[in-house]
């Protein structure tokens, strides 16, 4: 991580919480395995491997085999957490995710590490802005983007207990804590972090704290913004989103992902059919240029200022 990022961003790399929680869960449940593609270091699995040397299944740099092997491990009674950089997990192994995990219905937790533009300087091959669109299109696969360490841990517990496949992002870009104390996670349930009547900001992952900051800015301009953390992108909390559409009449979605097929699309698909309201979908329009994550988020207006600006323009309509 660059100096610029460490000073400008929040305090928590969700990978640490993920690794700690995975070890805690593995102590309680002998079925839990970590499956990876040479990514022991980048997935923060070094301590896990020290404690459970036999329970890290490292297939080497071979993502198709990694996901197929995970499905087989689940067939054999294990509960694999597949930990790999999100672009390679979701892109290279897309058909294995579709056929071997989701269509075959094996309890495999697909953990997209360092998603979005976490590898900003490494360029579009290493950006994972497409993962939400790709994963959303597969059967009944849950697609989850936790916002902070507490929510990351809660999501892991929830999907492990479900006995079903799931995809979750595990953030690398540092974020502040945003979850209310004691807040858990439930599939298909979003959390209202701030009440408001004029416009609703629906955000996920790295964008949740920025949406909260944007709401504070908007309050100063006389705009009362509601803020929803929709970590469960699929299934979406239809009820809460439609209530927001009815009660605030305007929705801005914010995600560190391409604007086609992700959170904004999910919200638009819902409200367009049941309660159409004006919307703005904030995200990344296409391949991103080279730059630090912090730079790229600013470049695309994925900041408190950018979100407040979009919400203000929408509120003025």
């Amino acid at each position: 991580m660059s100096r610029e990022e460490s000073s400008a961003a929040g305090s928590f790399d969700c990978r640490q919480a993920f690794a700690d929680e995975l070890a805690a869960m593995a102590r309680e449940d002998s079925r839990i395995l970590a499956v990876c593609n040479d990514s022991v270091g980048s997935s923060n699995l070094i301590n896990f491997r020290k404690e459970f040397p036999d329970r890290v299944i490292n297939v080497g740099i071979a993502e198709q085999n990694m996901v197929g092997v995970a499905a087989g491990l689940a067939n054999g009674g294990y509960l694999p957490f597949v930990c790999a950089a999100s672009p390679f997990l979701t892109g290279r192994a897309l058909e294995q995710i579709k056929a071997d995990v989701v269509y075959s219905d094996f309890p495999v937790v697909l953990c997209g590490m360092s998603p979005g533009m976490a590898y900003g300087e490494l360029g579009p091959t290493h950006h994972s802005i497409e993962d939400l669109a790709w994963m959303r299109a597969i059967g009944d696969l849950p697609v989850i983007v936790p916002a902070d360490p507490q929510e990351t841990r809660a999501v892991m517990r929830c999907v492990a207990a479900s006995g079903k496949p799931a995809f979750m992002r595990v953030g690398r870009f540092k974020v502040p804590a945003v979850s209310p104390q004691g807040q858990g996670f439930e599939l298909g349930k979003a959390v209202t972090l701030r009440e408001g009547r004029d416009v609703t900001l629906i955000a996920i992952g790295t964008m949740v704290s920025r949406a909260l900051d944007a709401a504070a800015q908007l309050a100063g301009r006389g705009i009362d913004a509601r803020v929803i953390n929709a970590a469960s992108v699929k299934p979406l909390d239809d009820e809460l989103v439609l209530a927001a559409a009815r009660e605030t009449g305007r929705i801005v979605t914010v995600e560190e992902a391409i604007v086609t097929g992700g959170l904004g699309s999910a919200v638009a698909e819902l409200v367009a059919q049941h309660h159409p309201v004006p919307m703005r979908i904030l995200g990344v329009p296409g391949f991103a240029p080279t730059g630090t994550t912090q730079f790229l988020l600013e470049h695309f207006g994925l900041t408190a200022d950018g979100i407040a600006e979009a919400a203000h323009a929408l509120a003025d309509q």
């Binding site: 995970a70 087989g72 294995q96």
Partner: protein, 304 residues
């Protein structure tokens, strides 16, 4: 004329207790049988399965008859003489696992599963029907005895490696068998899995290559040649056997041999369309459906 309602076609597949009992009885008889007796019995079963495949494809009006016929003897040997399974308990945790990676030959697998009693053979007439559980490719959500969903090629071996790894971790004695098409070996994912199986020394894993030398549109050698195939597997760290994939004696001897320290590749030389003279080695019979006259002629050959 028999009528079939949509709800019949869509009905869930349940165990055929009578067929399962018959299967259990012949497995019991095989325990004390000579190889000659077993081979004679398996030959009769293979002929029955080939007839069922042909009827299934004729009824459905689609299927992959050439590859179904080439893999039949392998399936019959596995399900009647090798696999430790219980058709009445398809989810028994310690069962041996079998994956048909060349999932387009589903009709052969379904006919074999039904013959063991996993579900009634009269459901084969619903193969690929609207809303049928017997999808054109195997679906474990709906078909007892199917371990993982296949269809896209190059998926079965990685999943089999995962199962064999699970068995190694849990120290269960279960064995994992996977049948691969030879054309399918052009998919790179197989070789990722082959490398890793050797790395883990998965002695409980057997990959059987249905080496019929034809793919959809042409000979494998004329498309993207696999030779030297045994050397390729050896170079990847596997124990290699090359056998006649239509010899039940060779299949039983090779597939029943105790697990070694390395994964085992069995290159089973087969004939696409085996058993029906005008289909044998004919590239056009990959997924061609026989005409009424061809169907009758084929049934006659299988009755002999």
């Amino acid at each position: 004329m028999q009528t079939t309602s949509a709800s019949d076609v869509a009905a869930p597949l349940v165990t055929d207790e009578v067929a399962a009992a018959a299967w259990r009885e012949r497995r019991g008889q095989f325990d004390g049988a000579t190889t000659e007796q077993m081979v004679a019995a398996l030959g009769a079963i293979s002929t029955r399965i080939r007839r069922h495949i042909l009827e299934t494809i004729d009824t459905a009006g689609l299927g992959h008859v050439g590859g179904d016929m080439s893999v039949t003897d392998i399936l019959v040997a596995l399900f009647n003489g090798v696999l430790r399974i219980d058709p009445t308990q398809p989810a028994w945790p310690e069962r041996d696992r079998f994956i048909l990676s060349k999932g387009h030959c589903a009709a052969a697998l379904y006919a074999t599963l039904a013959d063991c009693g996993f579900f009634p053979a009269d459901r084969l007439r619903h193969f690929a029907g609207n809303l049928s559980p017997l999808n054109g490719h195997p679906n474990r959500r709906k078909i007892p005895g199917v371990e993982t969903n296949t269809g896209p090629l190059g998926h079965g071996l990685p999943v089999a490696v995962g199962i064999a790894t699970a068995a190694q971790l849990s120290r269960q004695g279960l064995r994992t068998f996977v049948v691969l098409g030879d054309g399918e070996l052009q998919e790179g994912s197989n070789w990722e899995a082959a490398m890793y199986a050797a790395q883990r020394r998965l002695g409980g894993l057997t990959a059987i290559v249905d080496r019929n030398r034809l793919q959809q549109g042409a000979g494998v050698a004329d498309t993207n040649d696999l030779e030297p195939l045994p050397d390729k597997w050896r170079a990847f760290g596997w124990e290699v056997h090359v056998i006649d994939g239509h010899s039940h004696a060779e299949l039983l001897a090779t597939l029943s041999a105790p697990a070694g320290e390395r994964p085992r590749a069995v290159i089973a030389n087969t004939i696409k369309g085996k058993g029906i003279s005008f289909m044998e080695n004919g590239v056009e019979w990959h997924h061609k459906v026989p005409s009424a006259a061809q169907y009758e002629a084929a049934l006659k050959e299988l009755a002999r």
